[in-house]
Assembly symmetry: C2
Homo-oligomer: 297 residues x 2
Amino acid sequence: MRWAEGFIAADWGTTNRRAYLVSGDGRCVDEMEDGKGVLSVPAGGFSDAVAEIRQRLGDKPLLLAGMVGSNRGWVEAPYVPCPAGLQEIARSLAWPEECTAIVPGVSWRDDDDADVMRGEETQILGALAAGLIPADALVCHPGTHNKWVRLQGGQITRFTTVMTGEMFNLLKEHSILADQLGEQAEPDAAFERGVRKALAGAAVTSELFTIRARFALGKRMADASSYASGLLIGADIGAGLDLADADARPILIGRPDLTRLYSAALTIAGREAVELDGEQAFLAGAKRIVELIDERR
Amino acid sequence: MRWAEGFIAADWGTTNRRAYLVSGDGRCVDEMEDGKGVLSVPAGGFSDAVAEIRQRLGDKPLLLAGMVGSNRGWVEAPYVPCPAGLQEIARSLAWPEECTAIVPGVSWRDDDDADVMRGEETQILGALAAGLIPADALVCHPGTHNKWVRLQGGQITRFTTVMTGEMFNLLKEHSILADQLGEQAEPDAAFERGVRKALAGAAVTSELFTIRARFALGKRMADASSYASGLLIGADIGAGLDLADADARPILIGRPDLTRLYSAALTIAGREAVELDGEQAFLAGAKRIVELIDERR
């Protein structure tokens, strides 16, 4: 049986999962999403959790990507070191059972440094396989852990993670600023002020406290979420653009609500970016990996 | 009755409180500490909570400083704007009851910026009143919210807060790095590496993720707490020294376990610092405020 005649691809993260049924002509014909993230599956429970996906979408070959392949997941699919393209990734799939493959993550390290990704590689290399981005590019993948990724010759050669999304969530859920950060961040004037402050080198954890200080002085900021987001994303792109050629257009891949904020911040930094939807990129990556599975059989 | 003939001074914060009985000759002759921070006192419960202090240490005039004077505390003692010295502070005490005074915090603001402190002013101006620091100085008060404070002519003229302690606690308690940050941070080689990275302008939230990446790659850092602390404190002093004259010796006031780390980081940055114990500074500040209360009666 050829996988490409019909398969399911699932992006299975820490806190939720999303699965797509892809028909033989490459179209997504059905999908499901639920909150059964890797951390909510009990030990020994992955076979059942996978069976649920097939009950819902059909008894098809199944390609899994994301944290399901980590040491907290079902079966560990060890990281593929840079340089890594889809060929290297397809050669390193983990096979917890027949007709079910798990995509490995990608790692980078030298004596002084280390980094890992798991899940983003499928989207980024998928966008490349679909011809949506060039073989040499700087890609930014916003999320809990934003990835800045250098592509060279169609391979991931270097990347760096910035914990922007996690920091924002920590501040929003557990910090002294929590009461001030309930609103959705928007690319508004406060966001721009935050981006500019961070790009100019202001200390983010100092600027953040001004939100608290204004509140204590009776001058609550209605747009505190946008300001905090601007500070964090401004510092993030300040770091990420270190990886960029001066004239390259960064490519943003991910959730549209996040790529929109990063695009706005990059514009403020004088860089026009391209935005691509992470879901489409994921499906493109899954399709290409499935072709490589069929070729290797 | 003159306060200076014998009084109680209490540093009453968000999560705990510490009270000292000071005799007529200025010595601390008894003290108490418990976990009854401002947030654990129910509405209407402050009279009883204060009575406990007097039952324990004696029926004396009582000077309270810290978050007990905030809008979450007993009675709000509004912030005194910069420039603020002990004279200005003594003029702005709040009096929730006879023989009980609450020290106000200090604020700074202009059109574009705002900052507040509450509790640190008593320690910093106390060290000044005791002749431990000069009337013109840069003071650093590490804690949940580190304060960099410029003293000019014996007054607080400008200050800036960096949320270093809170960030470290958020990472330690709620982040993906939580499992790696259980050890006590020490001024060791990993701490120095973190300080140097941050001083060189590295993105702290990117460097922090290398702790996670090393773990994922099977290369767990035994000294991750020190490295994370070095990164955060390095970025903190990088921001704080912007307030300093090039040749000034910063003065560190606070908990000795924290001033020790900041002193080590400042040494790495090429600046020798002076360390002063926050508790002694607090008592000196309380004594001077009490003298001013007596002078004004």
